[in-house]
Symmetry: C2
Subunit: 359 residues, 2 copies
DNA sequence: CTGAAAGCGCTTACAG
DNA sequence: CTGAAAGCGCTTACAG
């Protein structure tokens, strides 16, 4: 079942078949009808490979993320797939584990697939990692990572604002000694959040900050993170003087792991220590201590990324655009001390999200 | 950069280039070296589309699931992608939302992509849905759904065993009035679990079962499930006589939604009612009432599926094989009454998983 | 508006 | 072991 068969059945040339099915060029109504009738009768299936080979561009979008198993990432992947499918595009999902070698392999794979565009959460801030994509003229949108490249669009969370929300809450509850639980400090979110924490805490007399992260660099996957992070972090913070009383975690999985470790060691939350994170998760409100967190606007992140990508696909010369999304603070109970709690600050409340465009 | 350029640079024919790069056929060492040298010098990138067109088969695997946003599904997707990537295959992820129309669209898409194989969790038990794949000779492995087709391999959870584990626990805690919270009753897991519940409860004098599900058929996505399911279920069970005291949920998201609704209405777990589910989730042990559940061996499900698929790709004529995986019971606290609890049955414990092959 | 023809970049019988 | 050549199924200048 190919164009040749349809052309024969409809008594037209394959060029006409192509014009009808692709909706390009002008075809007389009579011939159009003949072609469509032939297609119906023959249960024709187009060959995407042939189309791709000829047009040198596949109707496929590539998505390179750290790991779809993280709830935040899964949610992005779902939204991107929806948007792609709505436009007849397939979605190739690649999990880099934030590993440069894997990322490189996937970038090569996607280039060989001649994907129409790539949405990537790069493992590094070094724009060099994306050069092969640029050389292959593949439109790129980056997620969650600041990359200084002229040829990509970027969707970013306002990490400074997110950090301030979380810290303001913790400071109001009387905390002065903090621990930042981060995966890799190389990635944008960690870097920006640490910077923000440092500059916020500089203004607070006597405030301290322990960074628990470096040891965790090799931790890969949800399961391993769950098992490893909590104990490793506690080993570190327990040795610190003064010991931190407030933990700020990079994501929901790390927070869960830490909470388990604290529970195992009999440390009470929020009576002994506070624990908050940059990431919401179903179930956080049902925890023994409901978790205060900042939620990422996942749906908007994904929608925006797809929107930027398709506009760049349509017009490859576009200048780089950056979208900064503001997160939302969800105040539950894990943020506050048992004593000295500012009850007003603890009432369940949310602030309205804002979106901001930078250029 | 194509075979023609390499051939010219290496002074050989394109056929020889193909033989060297694909590793097929015999090539003299001298020519092989010339080709490899030329490839190095030219930063060559193969065209997957050309290869696919010529071989009529893409190095791509298709995965059709309900929704990657569900933790269980994300975990499967991750494992499948890993296995595919290890063999140089790309992974196209498709979310059907258990919707027949969407599923059909994706099946067509994957056939047009000429994927080498498909792993699918079908939206229906009707083997007719998979016919296009069979007609296109695409190897298929089904997940989680019993499909009576001769040409697919199937990976299934032992739903009867899983149900018995959960029920035994609840019965030991004195429960007699049950509610089954299911999404669609058309799918295999729900159907088999309901059957198992019914036949188990037949032996228990005075036992009752309410099925809360039919209204939930249109609920799509994690967010909507979270918002809708709990209240809808309670509206139903509150009207039942006798009111159920034990809820068995189909998955972790539904359980979370139900727990939130119960909390909102001031119903205590496990003092007033017990709530358990077929699915584990990070954080369940940290809930105010830690959740008793049956965990699915996701990693093994995915590994097995990929294994079956690749063996079928290598040998398409293989007879249908079915793998039945046994789940694991994780006893925490949501299973038991405040009064009349059999403490022994409540101690945190797990049974060893088993795997069983059927043919 | 229409068709003949070239060509996208590979692979694979076929002949030697 | 090697190469010339055909062909996978489309799209698209080009000429009319």
């Amino acid at each position: 079942m190919t164009y040749k068969d349809i052309a024969r059945a409809a008594q037209v040339s394959t060029a006409t078949v192509s014009r009808v099915l692709a909706g390009t060029g002008q075809v007389s109504e009579e011939r159009r009808d003949r072609v469509l009738a032939a297609v119906d009768g023959l249960s024709y299936r187009p060959s995407r490979a042939a189309r791709t080979l000829r047009r040198q561009r596949a109707d496929t979008i590539g998505l390179i993320v750290s790991d779809v198993e993280y709830p935040f990432v899964a949610s992005i992947a779902r939204a991107v797939e929806n948007a792609a499918a709505a436009r007849g595009f397939a979605l190739a999902v690649c999990n880099s584990d934030e590993n440069l070698g894997r990322e490189r392999t996937y970038i090569d794979l996607l280039i060989e697939e001649q994907v129409a565009g790539v949405i990537i959460s790069p493992a590094t801030e070094d724009p060099g990692a994306l050069r092969p994509l640029r050389d292959a003229r593949v439109p790129v949108v980056t997620l969650d990572r600041r990359i200084d490249a002229q040829y990509t669009d970027n969707v970013l969370l306002d990490n400074a604002a997110a950090t301030q929300m979380l810290l303001a809450d913790l400071l109001a509850h009387g905390h002065r000694h903090f621990a930042a639980v981060v995966g890799t400090t190389a990635a944008t979110p960690s870097r920006e959040r640490l910077e923000a924490m440092r500059s916020e805490l500089e203004r607070v007399p006597g405030a301290t900050l322990v960074v628990a992260g470096s040891r965790l660099g090799d931790t890969v996957g949800v399961r391993q993170t769950l098992e490893t992070v909590g104990p490793a972090v506690l080993a570190l913070t327990r040795a610190a003087h003064p010991e931190p009383t407030a933990y700020v975690c990079a994501n929901a999985v790390m927070l869960t792991s830490l909470l388990e470790a604290l529970h195992d060691q009999g440390v009470a939350v929020p009576d002994d220590v506070a624990v908050v994170c940059f990431d919401d998760m179903p179930g956080f409100s049902l925890f023994a201590t409901p978790v205060t967190c900042v939620t990422q606007p996942t749906r908007r992140i994904a929608t925006k990324a797809v929107e930027l990508l398709f506009s760049r696909m349509a017009e490859p010369g576009l200048p780089s655009r950056t979208t900064l999304l503001t997160p939302e603070l969800v105040t539950r109970r894990s943020c506050g001390h048992g004593s000295g709690i500012d009850r007003a600050a603890c009432a369940s409340s949310t602030n309205e999200p804002q979106e901001q465009e930078l250029t």
